[in-house]
């Protein structure tokens, strides 16, 4: 009898472990995008296990399946890398940068590219299974964007850094596109099931819970759409900014936990919405600082960072009341990963931070080499952005120049992945890192 119980416990433990591992094969860990990963997390930094070079920035976040790390590169390639050694298993070229995160399901890697195509590759060999042409990719754009001049000229937003990452369920793959659509494709053939039109770019990644897809668009609306039919269930209106289009749009990807949808917005709020009705439960205002990060939700708390104010926040998931507020050093676009009692988050100054899950105190950080080199003094001596130097321009295109400079210090846009005590993340210096 004891043996039987032991056997059942062992089987359950194996199943749980398998579920935890499967939960690392798409953006933010699972279809609900909770951003939580099975422990143990490294509370101390020991070493760089390996670093894998690519030809350009790595904005994409890595995912894990069967001891292989998959991610996209802005050099146009999709990569499969041995998680233990950092050796390349395969790479496949697309015709544009790939700042999206892949999803792995049924032996297939799903990912979109700036070439306007959505790809399905064999996970083992990299062989192309099918590809689907959207109506074309583009960045969010507006006249007089962020106050740039000439104000009558349409300018593409350099901070629109990510592409939508897919979610896969029940033989259907869902993703957003710069053409304003959310697509639902047959995961085996790439045939279109349906598409849902919004008013602007959809680069947020849809979360899926209870048969409903949740995602935001740059048209200032957040949507809930029936995954089976593509019919709208509700929409929520975020902020508008008709003057300079700075405080508008959902770039953040949502997390759905216990019937509540959590999403950041460029209107500088973090919103908590009722998943069934779309009614606002609470909002957390960030004084005109964007919330680009996708929130992580664990133990009744929501973890997120802000852009210009460079703050790391933990708030109560039920009430939105602040629990932790820590001043960071630079903009945060990367989304936090919660593993046990440690939160990992990338910072645009080229640093990965490990923070205590309860206090938010910095446990350790890792600075990439490009950040240490600090070419053109992009950073101040204490690793903050050197704003007076960066944004100096007689032409009002300073954000474009500044963004380009920020990339040079190996900014970490990529959201960390934690597997078996190793943290994987990409950097704008062109490397994918594995640290432990």
């Amino acid at each position: 009898m004891t043996k039987k119980i032991f056997g059942i416990v062992a089987l359950l433990a194996t199943l749980c472990a398998a579920t935890a591992i499967d939960a690392q094969s798409m953006f933010r860990g699972d279809a609900m995008h909770s951003g939580t990963y099975a422990g143990p997390p490294p509370r101390q930094f020991h070493r760089v296990k390996w670093k894998f070079p690519t030809g350009d920035r790595v904005i994409s976040s890595p995912v894990f399946k069967d001891n292989v790390i998959y991610f996209g590169g802005d050099d146009g390639n999709v990569y499969a890398v041995d998680a233990a050694t950092g050796r390349q298993i395969w790479k496949r070229a697309t015709n544009g940068p790939v700042p999206a995160t892949p999803a792995i399901a049924d032996g297939t890697v799903y990912i979109g590219s700036y070439d306007g195509k959505f790809y399905a590759f064999n996970a083992q060999t990299g062989a192309l299974k099918w590809k689907f042409a959207t109506d074309g990719e583009r960045r969010f754009e507006a006249k007089g964007l962020h106050g740039m001049q000439p104000k009558n000229q349409t300018i593409a937003d350099p901070f629109d850094a990510f592409l939508s990452s897919p979610v896969v369920a029940n033989g259907v793959v869902y993703f957003g596109s710069g053409d304003g659509n959310l697509y639902a494709l047959d995961s085996a053939t790439g045939d279109l099931h349906w598409k849902f039109k919004t008013g602007d770019v959809v680069h947020a990644s849809p979360a899926l819970a209870d048969g409903v897809l949740f995602f935001g668009s740059w048209d200032s609306y957040f949507y809930a759409v029936d995954a089976a039919t593509g019919k709208e269930k509700w929409r929520f209106h975020g902020g508008e900014d008709p003057l300079i289009h700075n405080q508008v749009g959902f770039q953040s990807s949502p997390a759905v936990v216990n019937g509540t949808v959590y999403t950041g917005c460029r209107d500088s709020n973090l919103y908590a919405l009722d998943a069934v009705t779309g009614k606002e439960k609470w909002r957390f205002f960030n004084d005109l600082s964007w919330v680009i990060t996708s929130p992580a939700v664990a133990d009744g708390k929501v973890f997120f960072g802000t852009s210009d104010s460079s703050l790391y926040h933990v708030v109560d998931a039920n009430s939105g009341k602040p629990i932790v507020r820590q001043q960071g050093k630079a903009y945060i676009f990367s989304s936090p990963a919660v593993a046990g009692d440690v939160v990992f988050i990338g910072v645009m100054n080229g640093t990965l931070e490990a923070r205590d899950g309860k206090t938010g105190d910095l446990l350790w950080d890792f600075q990439v080499e490009k950040s240490k080199q600090n070419g053109s003094w992009v950073l101040t001596g204490d690793r903050k952005f050197n704003v007076p130097l960066l944004y100096h321009s007689n032409w009002r295109e300073a954000p474009l120049v500044a963004n380009d400079q920020q990339i040079r210090v190996g900014g970490i846009y990529s959201s960390p992945l934690v597997v078996n005590g190793v943290v994987y993340f990409g950097s704008a210096d062109g490397f994918l890192y594995a640290v432990e």
Binding site: P53, D56, D75, Q88, L128, R408
Partner: protein, 233 residues
């Protein structure tokens, strides 16, 4: 000295002499990581070099220049000198020398500019090779034809597939105002997906073989135009 002793000594000298270039070559084989110090920037440079059947092969990675596993050309290894060029339009050349600290140091040249470069051996080589032609399905062998329109006039396309022991080949012809025979670098078929690439001309066809048709698109630089090919009669 006896003649037998002299013979042994000569043999030893010959063996050592023969081994010297091998050891020198071994010192060059590997993954080399470092940087080129161009003004206001440090370019990360990762070079993989290996020898196969007496011929040097290699590839290079330069994050920020979009180079990942790009083949090396004109590789000349005459220890301690190591010189090579990088395939493609960037026109990069590296002229390096193995120094006393086992570093490859020298110059990184591009566009008439020159910067110092220094690389350190970090492990065994991970040379990337360009993709190779695959065989194509029997039903794909032979000639396929179709038309597409661009800038107001029609182009007639013909692709003729043939299988060989080392993979398939294709004759790729486009007839518009001129008769263009495109040099083909790569022919692949993976399941239903068929690719014919003329890297030199920046031109490719990619299509899906289904229901007796090759449905896809021709691509030239960033311009993509739909094209359906059917078997030539």
């Amino acid at each position: 000295m006896t003649s037998a002793g002299a013979r042994v000594r000569l043999i030893v000298i010959l063996i050592v002499a023969a081994a010297l270039p091998c050891r020198a070559d071994d010192a060059i084989t590997g993954r080399w990581e470092g940087s080129a110090h161009i003004p206001d920037d440090e370019l990360n440079v990762i070079v993989d070099l290996t020898q196969e059947n007496g011929t040097w092969a290699g590839s290079i990675i330069i994050p920020g220049l979009g180079l990942k596993g790009t083949p090396l050309t004109e590789i000349k290894v005459q220890p301690p000198d190591v010189n090579f060029a990088v395939k493609g339009a960037l026109g990069i050349q590296l002229k390096l020398r193995l120094d006393a600290n086992n570093k490859l140091a020298g110059n990184f040249e591009q566009g008439g500019n020159r910067a110092s470069a220094s690389l350190q051996r970090t492990g065994p080589p991970q040379v990337e090779y360009p993709p190779r032609n695959t065989p194509v399905a029997k039903e794909l062998e032979g000639e396929w034809k179709g038309d597409y329109e661009m800038l107001g006039y029609t182009r007639h396309v013909s692709i003729k597939f043939a299988n060989h022991p080392d993979g398939a080949t294709a004759e790729f012809v486009i007839v518009g105002r001129k008769h263009n025979v495109l040099p083909v670098d790569l022919v692949t078929q993976e399941g239903e997906m068929v690719t014919v690439d003329s890297h030199e001309m920046g031109f490719s066809f990619e299509g899906r073989l289904k229901n007796g048709k090759l449905t896809g698109a021709v691509r030239q630089a960033a311009i993509e135009t739909p094209l359906v090919l059917v078997r030539a009669k």
